[in-house]
């Protein structure tokens, strides 16, 4: 991932266009956009912790599918992501 890599993947996080480098995870895209991931059972904002798919804190809705682990899924063109910070 050299700095010369162009950011070419465009996805939509809570309706807002976000551009990331190819290969970036959805979790990275969400965090780079200044967002958190999910609302906890008690209503706290939570975001990715383990980065390897075991803590389940980075769950978001991706293309209508609930509870996806965003750290385990690569961002792809046109993907629609919904986080706790959706309006």
């Amino acid at each position: 991932m050299g700095t010369e890599t162009r950011e070419v993947i465009e996805l939509f996080i809570d309706g807002r266009s976000v551009r990331v480098a190819p290969g970036a995870s959805v979790a990275a895209a969400v965090l780079n956009a200044g967002k958190a991931c999910r609302a906890s059972v008690g209503g706290e904002r939570r975001a990715a912790v383990c980065g390897m798919g075991i803590c389940f804190e980075c769950r978001v809705e991706i293309d209508g599918v609930l509870h996806e682990r965003s750290c385990m899924i690569e961002a792809s063109e046109g993907m629609r992501v919904r986080t706790v910070d959706a309006g």
Binding site: V41, V65, L66, H67
Partner: protein, 374 residues
């Protein structure tokens, strides 16, 4: 042990805890004994469905009285008991099952239980994720769900507060007034009540209770995916036939938004392992009613053992002239529902407390048709 107890209750599941709690409310000093943890056996494994059932008059009376008692208790229970009056929706797949729903409706109505027959359109409105084309169903309005381990904990806290005690120990055997623990220690009491679920037969070998294994799976949170406890009417055929293996669609919306899916019934399986084959079967059955359920994510699966009897009725009471504990077991899948009624009956038998229930139908001395002590 220097303290003399009025009663010992063996078994820390919902039936045992209810008995201990009811007896302590009658002023008895109760020792509750069993394997840890509290509410950890079939009670923890079960769905926690309080359902008024109509398979027989005796079953109806016990479950209906219990449901009344649950209703009366609801405000006393801690919030973690997660009581929710979501109602039960019995699903009729075809016209034949809808007719069955109609006769059940008549049965319930004549006995003052609030029910409602749903046609094809109204069941689709009530539960949009059910497949289209179902004939209808029957809604039991006042059925509810509860989280049993918390209730058990609460009941035993009450028992302790009233001078009773809880002891975690394995029971080797017992008579009407004496219990012997696995280590050899004996404890005497005014009376011993055996409420050990499917393990009761280890203390009273004549008891015709057989373990009937069940599998359950629970999903992540999908609030609103279903609203009522859903049960297929075909469930009745499965639950009360004594086939070696069967499954039926039974889905419960937990207050957390999680979907709790059952259920399977197996005789002759000793090990508690989750069997992939049975889980697959339960899910396939569910997909016949709710095709979209296949995309929901399962976070856990587990098993439990119900205490089944030959006539599908619990065994409550003692046998005259036999030096053995008074028993309260054999509730199969209705332990949670029937626990409070069972406890009321035990309390009536042992202390003369009032009850509207007729002990005869559940008596230990009844004819089990070639099984049991006769």
């Amino acid at each position: 042990m220097s303290t003399k107890f009025d009663a010992i209750v063996i078994g820390l599941g919902i039936v045992g805890c209810s008995c201990a709690w009811a007896l302590s409310r009658r002023g008895l000093r109760v020792l509750a004994v069993g394997d840890a943890p509290i509410g950890g056996g079939a009670t923890a494994a079960g769905m926690g469905h309080v359902a008024i059932m109509d398979d027989s008059e005796a079953q109806f009376r016990l479950t209906a009285r219990s449901a009344e008692l649950w209703m009366a208790l609801r405000d006393e229970l801690p919030p973690e008991a997660a009581v929710d009056y979501c109602g039960t929706l019995w699903i009729a797949a075809d016209e034949e099952e809808l007719n069955a729903a109609r006769s059940k409706h008549a049965f319930y109505q004549s006995r003052g239980v609030r029910t409602e027959v749903l046609d094809e359109k109204s069941i689709a409105d009530a539960e949009p994720n059910l497949r289209s084309g179902l004939a209808g169903g029957l809604r039991i309005v006042d059925d509810s769900i509860v989280y049993p381990p918390v209730v058990c904990e609460w009941m035993l806290a009450e028992v302790t507060r009233r001078g009773g005690a809880v002891r975690f120990a394995h029971v080797a055997n017992a008579t009407r007034t004496r219990m012997t623990l696995a280590g050899g220690e004996t404890i005497d009491a005014g009376v011993v009540v055996l409420a050990g679920g499917d393990a009761s037969a280890k203390v009273c070998p004549w008891l015709p209770v057989r373990p009937r294994k069940g599998h359950l799976v629970i999903t992540d949170r999908y609030p609103g995916f279903c609203r009522h406890e859903l049960v297929e009417l075909g469930y009745l055929k499965n639950a009360h036939s004594h086939a070696t293996e069967s499954v039926a669609f039974n889905l419960q919306p937990r207050p957390t938004g999680q979907m709790l899916l059952g259920s399977s019934r197996q005789y002759g399986v000793e090990h508690a392992e989750v069997e992939a084959r049975m889980v697959a079967w339960v899910i396939e059955r569910a997909k016949m009613y709710m095709p979209l359920i296949g995309s929901l994510r399962v976070v856990r699966a587990w098993t439990g053992f119900r205490a089944a009897t030959p006539d599908s009725l619990p065994i409550i009471g003692g046998r005259d002239g036999v030096d053995e504990p008074v028993v309260a077991t054999g509730h199969e899948g209705l332990g949670l529902t029937a626990s409070l009624g069972t406890a009321e009956l035990i309390s009536a038998i042992l202390t003369g407390a009032p009850t509207t229930l007729d002990a005869g139908a559940y008596a230990a001395s009844r004819d089990f048709g070639g099984h049991g002590g006769h």
